[in-house]
């Protein structure tokens, strides 16, 4: 039976200089609060990003079952594994090895544990299996890998898992037996995913499947984080989907002029980020973006500016919203009700995908989502990040960012509500986007991934690094 590591921050010496705040998110002492603010204010941007990136990485070894290699959805007790978080963990270990934070062999060992587990897992599609048709249930028992919470077989979360596996495949390129096995396992898992089955004869890929009731009766339609899923499904060497599936996915795109800016609409920030963690969208365009004379990277940049503009206008008069206080995305917020400054009573949505400008919005901000916007618009992300850390230093615990804060739901001392603990998805996307901003590591590795390239090309993407790669091949 494996062990889930839950070391205290004192055991982690790699990120230093900040007071240790309780992992449960309880209020920090005012002296610690002040010293945190002072310490961060003294850091250069590079130091700040280095510390946050490394602290994000440390989520993964702290919350991994040593035998199965599965990674917990959150740092809370009894949290199950989220398969998407495992995908982010694969990328995180790759970055950690590349940066020398861990021994390369140690990273390979961790990744191999999970890959072997998935290879050998129960793919029978039963109610307590791990997966079916090469896909996996969204949430798994950390120690056994059995499906929990009656969760759905998740197409997009499987895609994020496999994107992480392919990232590791691209980075760990040594001829050693372990790294060879890692690459082979990543391919094996990718190749056995039956993307065609996941369409269920519909125009687009379905969002999920359950053994009790079959396919969920809605598909991935309208722009979201699922571009990477379609790219992988189109690049599959074994069960590829037809190109018209991608056209069906784009047929519900909404190109909008909002606050004076043109962009492809998606409400929550994570929808503008997750695919970008793996894919360098700069300069490459599918048919839709060619028509709009934009690209998905520019689009995410615009989305970040629209987020800021929404917060600046602050239509619901929530506390803490301004040009350096923004970030609506999927995260945990408070529940219950509160009366805001506008006199309106607001219900807290708990964990929800909050979005701009159509909501839902209950005054909860995701600082990780702000930080994960770094590659797109560093000139407004860094000021916002520094502002949020200075205003709400309690958002950092164990040196990592909590998923959500809500200044409107303040405690009697005026301190913002803060989500306790950490979410693996936040730590993963923060790490990857800081890394891409700092030296483009993941983008570089994945640009060389032949499956991803093929998938993008079959989706109609061209130009930019795709053209250069094709030119190099021709030569």
């Amino acid at each position: 039976m494996g062990t889930v590591h839950r070391k205290s921050a004192r055991d982690m010496r790699s990120v230093t200089h900040l007071p240790t705040t309780p992992v449960d998110g309880s209020a920090v002492r005012s002296r610690d609060r002040a010293s945190t603010v002072t310490a961060i204010a003294g850091w250069s941007d590079e130091t700040l990003l280095e510390n946050l990136e490394r602290a994000a990485f440390e989520y993964f070894p702290l919350n991994t079952d040593s035998r199965t290699g599965l990674v917990a959805d959150t740092s809370r007790e009894h949290s199950p594994c989220s398969i998407a978080v495992v995908g982010f963990a694969f990328a995180a270990w790759s970055v950690a090895a590349a940066r020398g934070w861990v021994e390369r062999s140690d990273a390979v060992r961790h990744i191999l544990a999970a890959l072997r587990f998935f290879r050998d897992s129960d793919q029978g599609g039963g109610t307590l299996a791990t997966g079916f048709k090469g896909f996996y249930y969204h949430f798994l028992d950390m120690r056994t890998g059995a499906r929990v919470w009656r969760s759905e077989l998740s197409m997009v979360d499987t895609a994020l898992l496999i994107a992480g596996a392919l990232t590791a495949r691209m980075y760990f390129d040594a001829p050693s037996p372990d790294e060879t096995e890692l690459r082979e396992l990543a391919e094996t898992l990718y190749r056995r995913i039956d993307w065609r089955w996941a369409q269920d004869r519909a125009a687009t890929i379905r969002m999920g499947w359950k053994p009790e009731s079959g396919f969920l009766h809605y598909g991935w339609e309208g722009y979201t984080e699922a571009v990477v899923m379609y790219a992988l499904a189109l690049g599959s060497p074994t069960h590829l989907i037809k190109q018209d599936c991608y056209q069906a996915w784009t047929s519900t795109y909404q190109w909008e002029n909002l606050y004076g800016r043109d962009f492809l609409y998606a409400g929550p920030l994570f929808e503008h980020q997750f695919s970008h963690a793996w894919i360098d969208f700069r300069g490459i365009r599918d048919r839709f973006m060619r028509e709009k004379r934009s690209d998905y990277f520019e689009n995410s940049r615009t989305a970040v500016y629209i987020q800021r503009e929404y917060a600046r206008r602050n239509p619901h008069e929530f506390a803490g919203y301004d040009e350096n206080g923004w970030g609506l995305s999927a995260c945990e917020g408070p529940t219950g009700s509160v009366v805001g400054a506008s006199g309106a009573a607001w219900q807290g949505f708990g964990y929800a995908a909050r979005g701009v400008p159509y909501g839902p919005d209950d005054g909860t901000l995701s600082v990780p989502a702000v930080l994960a916007s770094l590659p797109f618009a560093p000139e407004i992300v860094l000021p916002a990040l520094r502002n949020l850390l200075a205003r709400y230093p309690e958002v950092l615990s164990e040196h990592r960012l909590s998923t959500g804060i809500n200044p409107t739901w303040a405690d009697p001392h005026g301190r913002a509500w803060v989500s306790p603990g950490h979410y693996g998805l936040d730590q993963g996307i923060v790490l990857m986007m800081i890394e891409n901003h700092r030296n483009e590591s993941i983008w570089r590795w994945m640009r060389a991934c032949p499956y991803l390239r093929r998938g993008l090309e079959r989706a109609g993407f061209g130009g930019g690094w795709l053209r250069r790669a094709a030119d190099e091949e021709d030569r």
């Binding site: 009656r150 759905e152 359950k210 009790e212 009731s213 969920l216 009766h217 809605y218 309208g222 784009t250 047929s251 519900t252 795109y253 909404q254 190109w255 909008e256 002029n257 909002l258 004076g260 043109d262 609409y265 409400g267 028509e291 206008r313 239509p315 619901h316 009366v339 506008s342 006199g343 309106a344 009573a345 219900q347 400008p357 159509y358 909501g359 839902p360």
Partner: protein
């Protein structure tokens, strides 16, 4: 198909007596039929009345046949009572939300359901007056009450009399349809047509169906004080509308306190200890809720049965109604159809418009095509959701490149001063031009605001031109002008 519960007993007050006297007088004696009518209209709802009045105004002798109340669904059991109750429910919501407007919540707000429904009956009776049998008779229209049945291609029978006609318009409307849920009929339920007759507010109400009717009624009854649950089989409300509009509506309903159960099916209903126990399934999650009343607001079925359409040679099917061509003509060249009995879009304004078109085409050699009309519609929730023209997905499927100019209501001063910031105006234009393809408006008065866009589309006015139309400050319709100004700026920058 389960049938609705026995019609709740409408209180026979002065308003109701007045309505009956005007719209379905017990003492009415059908006139002696004339030899051959230039026009016979079957059904005296909004469509039938519009057809009869237009023809009569042109000097045409008309026979108008109705089996129930003049005015039909809209005037008696649909639009009119619905809007009346929605307005009262809005008032209660605003009273409870008074602090938002800088006011005190009135002490001891007590819901007076009897007064609410009495107001509904008063307004219904008042607005019904122009449809009264007296007015119609004064206009020269022969009004017949009873069940009409075609006996041939140019004749029909009613109460033992035979009406012969040169032309006829069938405007028999539609009725509520309820889903085939085991136990629904046995447990008893109401529909949008008889819900306004109930005399006691149910403590717990289940609304089945997240379409326009279901959403409107769920919000209204919740605001009146019923603990309301709405169950929708799809993952979003108003399947036809844009997802952002549906998202705002979900938020609004939840904020009102409606328990929203999307992606959920009702699989069975039973009665125990005086409660209706409703079994729900969401994917594979099963649970049971207890309610006191059920409103089935799923859809509407055309009234085609019992009309003897076969005898008249009129093609139809029970789900989609009478088949008409683009000129609203049926398979019998003498007979046209109008309104809910033949249209996919079942609204009061489409009923009236189609009836007038049918009369012009039937009697005045008109060649007007239904497909050429630009038809807006509105769901009267708070905020309202109004639409006209193409949706983005429809344009994409037709290969039309679309750009959407969006103005959020929180950008509009009047919406902010009225604390009505939830919503938006989205106007879709053909990319690279200012030709309006369609629009969706979510706002408290979206149904009023959409008319400006409809006018522009009908008159072929480009969106940029609307920027030059002076709009009154301070009105919420400025949102339309702001969208137009954004379009104008975009075109200017594209050409500079």
């Amino acid at each position: 198909m389960p049938r609705p519960s026995a019609r709740p007993a409408t209180p026979q007050d002065d308003h109701e007596r007045k309505r009956i006297a005007e719209l379905r007088p017990a003492t009415w004696a059908n006139p002696e039929p004339e030899g051959r009518y230039p026009l016979v209209v079957i059904g005296a709802g909004f469509a039938g009345l519009a057809a009869a009045e237009l023809a009569a105004a042109q000097g045409i002798k008309v026979a108008l046949v109705e089996r129930d109340f003049l005015g039909g669904t809209c005037a008696n059991t649909g639009c009119v009572p619905s809007k009346a109750i929605i307005r009262t429910s809005r008032l209660y919501a605003e009273m409870r939300d008074a602090e938002r407007y800088g006011a005190q919540v009135p002490a001891g707000i007590q819901m007076d359901f009897a007064a609410t429904m009495e107001r509904v009956r008063r307004i219904r009776a008042h607005l019904g007056q122009p449809n009264s049998v007296r007015h119609l008779a004064a206009a020269g229209i022969d009004v017949f009450f009873g069940d009409a049945r075609f006996t041939g291609p140019d004749s029909l029978a009613i109460d033992g009399s035979t009406l012969r006609f040169d032309k006829a318009v069938i405007a028999t409307g539609a009725r509520p349809s309820a889903p085939p849920i085991p136990g629904l009929a046995e447990s008893g339920y109401v529909t949008n047509e008889n819900v306004f007759e109930i005399t006691q507010l149910p403590r717990r109400l289940l609304v089945i169906g997240g379409g326009p009717i279901g959403c409107e009624q769920a919000q209204a009854f919740c605001r009146l004080g019923a603990q309301t649950t709405i169950v929708q089989i799809k993952p979003l409300f108003l399947e036809r509308e844009e997802r952002d509009a549906a998202q705002l509506l979900s938020t609004a309903l939840a904020r009102d306190g409606v328990v929203v159960r999307l992606n959920t099916r009702v699989v069975g209903i039973r009665v125990a200890n005086g409660e209706k126990l409703v079994d729900l399934v969401s994917d594979d999650y099963h649970n049971t809720i207890a309610v006191d009343a059920i409103l089935a607001g799923v859809g509407r079925l055309p009234n085609v049965e019992g009309l003897g359409l076969e005898s008249a040679g009129v093609d139809y099917d029970r789900e989609h109604g009478i088949r008409v061509d683009d000129f609203l003509r049926t398979s019998n060249r003498r007979i046209h159809a109008a309104g809910d009995v033949c249209l996919e879009d079942k609204y009061g304004h489409t009923a009236i418009t189609s009836a007038q078109m049918a009369v012009r085409n039937a009697l005045f050699r008109g060649r007007e095509r239904w497909s050429k009309l630009v038809i807006p519609w509105c769901t009267f929730t708070d905020p309202e959701i109004a639409h006209v023209g193409l949706y983005v997905r429809e344009a994409n499927r037709q290969g039309i490149p679309v750009k959407t100019f969006t103005v959020l209501m929180h950008e509009v001063d009047r919406a902010v001063t009225d604390s009505e910031e939830a919503g938006f105006v989205k106007i879709h234009v053909r990319e690279g031009s200012d030709r309006i393809l369609g629009a969706t408006i979510v706002a408290r008065h979206a149904g009023d605001m959409i008319n400006e866009i409809t006018l522009a589309m009908v008159a072929n006015i480009g969106l940029s031109k609307l920027a030059k139309v002076v709009h009154t400050y301070d009105t919420q319709a400025e949102a339309v002008q702001k969208a137009a100004q954004a379009c104008s700026r975009a075109r200017a920058s594209a050409t500079s």
